[in-house]
C-alpha cells in the first residue's frame, strides 16, 4: 500500500503525482479468455484503466483459450464486451489504441507446445511493445485447469522472469473446496510460483468501502478505544442478494453459500473489522494481523454446528413481485439437492479484544434485497435517567454495497416539553459526499498486481486457516448420521425462522436492512 514513496525515489518525476504504487509495463496473459469473467470484468477493467490514464502504455493483453480465433477476431469480441460492461462509454480513439495491445493465443491448456509458442510470442511482444519481460498470468479458469497450466508454464520457463523482471500469477476463487484441496492447490501453485509471486484475488477486498474499514478504524481516534468487548455487544455481517444461481447451478452444486461466500468474502471482511492495528501498511504486516483473527476463531464442534449454524435453501417465492422457482428447480441443479443457499452463523473470536462478543454472519441468495454490510452494535448506556423502553443501543453500520457509506445510530430527544427519546441516524454516503465514481474492484486489484502490491490479496495461510474453520461445519453437514437439518425459506424472505432464533436466544435480532 505504501510503495509509492519507494517508487518516487527511483523515478523523481513521479514524486507527488501518485499516492499509490506505480504499475509496471507487462504482458497480461489471461487463461480462459473466452469466458464470462474476461468478458464482463477483466477486459472492461483494463479498458477503464487505459481510459483513465492509469495503465502504463507498455501493457499488452494476451487471451489464451482453446477456441480458434485470431487477434482481430478477439479484439472485435472484446470490443463488444467492453461496450456492454464498461463503467464508462467506449471512445474510439482510446479503444483503437488499446485494441492494438490485445492478442489471442489459441491452444489447449493440456498442450505443452502451446505454452512454448506462448513463450516465443511473449518475447516478441517484449521487443516490440516494451513490456520488459514482466508477465502477469491471470487464471480465469476453474481450479481443475490449474495443474496442467502451471505445469506447462513451468516447462516453458515462464514461471521465472529474466533478471530485473517479474512473473506473477493471479488465481480466482474457489481456492479449494476444503482444507485438503486448498493445501493441494497451494502445493500445485507453489511448484511453479513462489508465494510472493502468487496473488489470490478476492474482489470484495477491492471495494472502496472494504478498504475504508482500515481508515475508519485506524485514522479516527474515536473508534479504537471503543472497539472491544467492553463497549461492543455484538457484530453482524450480512451479504444478501436477490439473485439466484443465474445459470451457475453446476458450480453452485459443488460450492454452496458457506464455501462460496463465507470462507472467503465474509471472513475477509471480519478480519478487517476484528484485526489489530498493523505495524505499517506493508502487505505482509496487514496480512499478518488478518490471519491472527482467523486463527483465533473458535473451531466448531459437531454440537456447535447444530446450535450455532443454520443452513437453508430457497424454495419457490417471489422477488420484486415476480415469481421465482425453488433452488431445486434451477437449471443444472439436483432436484434433491441439499446445497445451502443461505447460511447464518454465530462465531466467537477467542482473544482479549473480542472475548464474549458474538459475531453473527448471514449470507443468502434470493433474499428480499441485495445488500452487504457490517454492523457494530454497541452496549447500551446505563439507563438510570431515562425510560428503559426507549433504550436503543448505538449501531455503527459500514455499508459495503450498494450505497456505500457509514452510518451511526444514536439517541436524541424529540423536541417538546417532555423527555421523549428516539433513535436518529448520522449518515455518510460515498455517492453524496464524493462526486467521483469509485473504480471497479477489478481495476484496483489488477493495478495492484501490476505494481507488486499484494495487500488486497489473500495469502496462503489466510486461505488455509479459513478452510480449517469451515471444514468442521461442512463435515457435520455431510455426516450420514445426525446431520443438522437443512431448512427451507421462500425466495424473497429473510431466510428461515431458525436464523432469527439464532439471535433471539441471545436476546438479539438481525438488523433490519
Amino acid at each position: 500500500m505504501n510503495r509509492a514513496a519507494e517508487h518516487s525515489q527511483t523515478n523523481p518525476l513521479r514524486e507527488g503525482l501518485s499516492t499509490r504504487a506505480v504499475p509496471q509495463p507487462c504482458s497480461i496473459v489471461i487463461f480462459g479468455a473466452t469466458g464470462d469473467l474476461t468478458h464482463r470484468k477483466l477486459l472492461p477493467a483494463l479498458y477503464n484503466l487505459a481510459a483513465d490514464g492509469e495503465l502504463p502504455p507498455a501493457v499488452t493483453v494476451i487471451g489464451f483459450a482453446r477456441r480458434p480465433k485470431n487477434d482481430e477476431g478477439f479484439r472485435k469480441e472484446m470490443e463488444q464486451s467492453v461496450k456492454e460492461f464498461s463503467r464508462q462509454a467506449v471512445r474510439d480513439e482510446i479503444w483503437n489504441n488499446f485494441a492494438q495491445s490485445l492478442f489471442y493465443h489459441q491452444s489447449d491448456f493440456a498442450d505443452e507446445s502451446g505454452f512454448k509458442t506462448l513463450a516465443q510470442r511473449l518475447e516478441k511482444i517484449d521487443q516490440e511493445h516494451g513490456t520488459r519481460g514482466n508477465r502477469l498470468f491471470y487464471f480465469a479458469v476453474g481450479p481443475d485447469q490449474f495443474e496442467p497450466i502451471l505445469k506447462h508454464l513451468k516447462a516453458a520457463g515462464l514461471n521465472k522472469a529474466p533478471e530485473g523482471s517479474w512473473a506473477r500469477v493471479i488465481v480466482e476463487k474457489p481456492f479449494g473446496t476444503d482444507l485438503d484441496s486448498a493445501r493441494e492447490l497451494n502445493r500445485v501453485i507453489s511448484n511453479s510460483f513462489s508465494e510472493e509471486q502468487t496473488y489470490r484475488i478476492d474482489h470484495f477486498l477491492g471495494k472502496e468501502t472494504a478498504q475504508n474499514i482500515l481508515v475508519l478504524r485506524f485514522a479516527n481516534a474515536i473508534f479504537e478505544p471503543l472497539w472491544n468487548t467492553r463497549y461492543i455487544d455484538h457484530v453482524q455481517i450480512t451479504a444478501a442478494e436477490t439473485l439466484g444461481v443465474e445459470g451457475r447451478g453446476g458450480y453452485y452444486e459443488t460450492a454452496g453459500a458457506l464455501r462460496d461466500m463465507v470462507q472467503n468474502h465474509l471472513l475477509q471482511l471480519l478480519c478487517l473489522v476484528a484485526m489489530e492495528a498493523p505495524s505499517d501498511l506493508r502487505a505482509d504486516s496487514i496480512r499478518d494481523e488478518k490471519v491472527k483473527v482467523v486463527r483465533c476463531l473458535r473451531r466448531m464442534t459437531v454440537d456447535g454446528v447444530a446450535t450455532d449454524v443454520v443452513r437453508a435453501q430457497y424454495a419457490e417465492g417471489a422477488i420484486n413481485g415476480k415469481p421465482v422457482p425453488a433452488y431445486r428447480r434451477e437449471e443444472r441443479v439436483d432436484p434433491n439437492s441439499t446445497v445451502d443457499t443461505f447460511v447464518a452463523l454465530r462465531l466467537n473470536i477467542d482473544n482479549w479484544r473480542w472475548w464474549d462478543v458474538p459475531i453473527y454472519m448471514r449470507v443468502g441468495k434470493r433474499l428480499p434485497k441485495s445488500a452487504t454490510e457490517i454492523s457494530v452494535h454497541f452496549k447500551k448506556a446505563p439507563m438510570v435517567l431515562f425510560s428503559k423502553e426507549t433504550n436503543d443501543a448505538n449501531v455503527l453500520v459500514i455499508r459495503i454495497q450498494p450505497d456505500e457509506g457509514i452510518s451511526l445510530r444514536m439517541q436524541a430527544k424529540i423536541p417538546g416539553t417532555s423527555f421523549r427519546i428516539e433513535p436518529v441516524k448520522m449518515d455518510f454516503h460515498y455517492g453524496t459526499t464524493f462526486g467521483k465514481a469509485s473504480p471497479e474492484a477489478y481495476e484496483r486489484l489488477l493495478l495492484d498486481a501490476m505494481s507488486g502490491d499484494a495487500t488486497l490479496f489473500a495469502r496462503r495461510d489466510e486461505v488455509e486457516q479459513a478452510w480449517a474453520f469451515i471444514d468442521p461445519i461442512e463435515k457435520a453437514w455431510s455426516a450420514k448420521k445426525d446431520a443438522p437439518e437443512l431448512y427451507f425459506y421462500p425466495a424473497g424472505s429473510w431466510g428461515p425462522e431458525q436464523a432469527d432464533e439464532l439471535l433471539a436466544r441471545d436476546g438479539r435480532a438481525w438488523r433490519r436492512l
Binding site: 517508487h7 527511483t10 523515478n11 523523481p12 518525476l13 513521479r14 514524486e15 507527488g16 503525482l17 506505480v22 509496471q24 509495463p25 487505459a50 481510459a51 483513465d52 490514464g53 502504463p56 502504455p57 507498455a58 480513439e93 482510446i94 489504441n97 488499446f98 492494438q100 516490440e128 511493445h129 516494451g130 520488459r132 530485473g164 450498494p402 450505497d403 454516503h429 455517492g431 453524496t432 459526499t433 464524493f434 462526486g435 467521483k436 465514481a437
Partner: protein, 352 residues
C-alpha cells in the same frame, strides 16, 4: 427553495443578518428527497464586473462533483459609498444512483466601497463549522491584504497564468503564507493545468531501465499557446527541480540552458503556437525521443517514445481540460501540500 432543475441565478435576496434564518428556510421549504452536503467551505473572490453571475455558474458545475458551502463574493473597491447585498441559493444535483438530490448551499455577497475591507468578517461569520476553508482568489492580490484572512484559509487557490507581475504576486502569496498562523497550501491552477502532461512524461521513466536517460538528456522543447508562457516555464521548472538541473544561461528568444549535476548541458526551447495551453513536449536523450502531444480529438494526449532501434508506438492518455470548472474539479480532488510546485517555482523564478 432548492430548485429541482439547475439554474444559475443568485437566488433569494436576503439581509446579511438573516442569512442563517434564510438558509434554514431554504431546506424547510424544499420539496422531495434532498440531502444537504458539504465537504469544504469554498470562498470565491473576484473584483471583475459580472463575476457574481459567472461564478454562480461555475459553482453550480463544481458542486456536481464537490459538495461544499460556497461563499461567492463580488467586490468593487472604487465606489465611495458602502453597499452590501446578499443572496442565498442551493445547487442540487441528482446522485449517480438517481433519485435523491444532493444540494450545496451558496451564499453570494456584493460588496461595494470601503466595506470591502470587512471581507474577513463577512467570510468568517458564514462558514460551515469544522470544515476547511478554500479561498479561490481570482484577481491579482492587492498590496494591503488583511492578514486576519490568512489565519483561516487552509488552501489558497489562484491562477498565476493571469498574473502580470509574477514575482510581486508570488511575493505577496509567500508573505500570506508566512503570516498565516496555520498551514496554507498554495494551489496554483496554472500548475494544475500541467497535471496530465506531467503524468504522461513521468510514466516514461517508471521502469528502472529508463532511468539512465535522465543523465543523457540533451534537449527539451515545449510548445505553448499565446498567453501560456508561464505554464511552459513552470513545466521546465518541474523538470529542472526534480532532475536537479540548474540554470546556466538566461532566457533569450524563447531558449535557455540548464546544466545537470554532472555539468552536462540541457537546451530548452519554448515555442509559441496556437492550440492547447501546452502543446507538444519533447524530451530528447542521446538515443531516445520522448514525446507528449495533444491528440487531434483535443481531450487526449498522444504519448510515444522512439529511437534509432525503436519504432514509436503511440498511446492515448487523458489530457487536462483548460476549462476553469475542470481545473477546479481536478485541484479539489488533491490533498496535501504542493511541495513539488514550490520547488518548480523556485527553479525558474528568474524566468517567470
Amino acid at each position: 427553495m432548492p430548485e429541482v432543475s439547475e439554474s444559475y441565478s443568485l437566488g433569494q435576496p436576503v439581509a446579511i443578518s438573516d442569512i442563517g434564518i434564510q438558509l434554514k428556510k431554504l431546506w424547510q421549504e424544499g420539496e422531495g428527497a434532498m440531502t444537504r452536503a458539504s465537504l469544504i467551505n469554498l470562498a470565491v473572490y473576484s473584483e471583475k464586473p459580472g463575476s457574481l453571475e459567472k461564478n454562480t455558474e461555475l459553482i453550480a458545475k463544481i458542486t456536481e462533483n464537490h459538495a461544499c458551502r460556497a461563499l461567492v463574493i463580488g467586490a468593487t473597491r472604487e465606489s465611495k459609498e458602502d453597499r452590501i447585498e446578499a443572496w442565498v441559493n442551493a445547487h442540487c444535483h441528482v446522485t449517480r444512483a438517481g433519485g435523491k438530490q444532493i444540494c450545496s448551499e451558496q451564499i453570494s455577497f456584493l460588496l461595494q466601497g470601503p466595506c470591502v475591507k470587512w471581507l474577513p468578517s463577512i467570510v468568517f461569520s458564514h462558514l460551515d463549522s469544522d470544515l476547511p476553508l478554500y479561498l479561490w482568489w481570482q484577481d491579482d492580490f492587492p498590496d494591503d491584504m488583511d492578514p486576519q484572512l490568512w489565519a483561516w484559509v487552509d488552501r489558497l487557490i489562484f491562477d498565476s497564468q493571469t498574473w502580470k507581475d509574477f514575482d510581486k504576486q508570488m511575493g505577496l502569496v509567500e508573505t500570506a503564507e508566512r503570516e498565516a498562523k496555520q498551514r496554507i497550501v498554495l494551489c496554483d491552477l496554472n500548475w494544475t493545468r500541467l497535471d496530465k502532461v506531467r503524468y504522461a512524461l513521468a510514466q516514461f521513466f517508471d521502469h528502472p531501465a529508463s532511468h539512465h536517460h535522465f543523465a543523457e538528456m540533451e534537449n527539451v522543447t515545449v510548445d505553448f499557446a499565446p498567453g501560456y508562457k508561464s505554464t511552459a516555464i513552470l513545466l521546465i521548472g518541474w523538470l529542472a527541480s526534480q532532475l536537479r538541473w540548474k540554470t546556466n544561461q538566461q532566457h533569450m528568444n524563447g531558449s535557455c540552458r540548464f546544466v545537470d549535476s554532472n555539468n552536462r548541458k540541457i537546451n530548452i526551447e519554448l515555442e509559441q503556437k496556437a492550440g492547447s495551453p501546452i502543446g507538444e513536449v519533447v524530451l530528447k536523450s542521446e538515443r531516445v525521443k520522448f514525446c507528449v502531444a495533444p491528440a487531434k480529438c483535443g481531450d487526449l494526449l498522444e504519448v510515444s517514445r522512439s529511437g534509432e532501434k525503436e519504432a514509436a508506438l503511440p498511446q492515448m492518455m487523458p489530457a487536462q481540460s483548460n476549462d476553469p470548472v475542470d481545473l477546479m474539479t481536478q485541484e479539489l480532488l488533491r490533498g496535501g501540500a504542493h511541495r513539488i510546485y514550490l520547488r518548480a517555482v523556485s527553479a525558474v523564478r528568474n524566468l517567470l
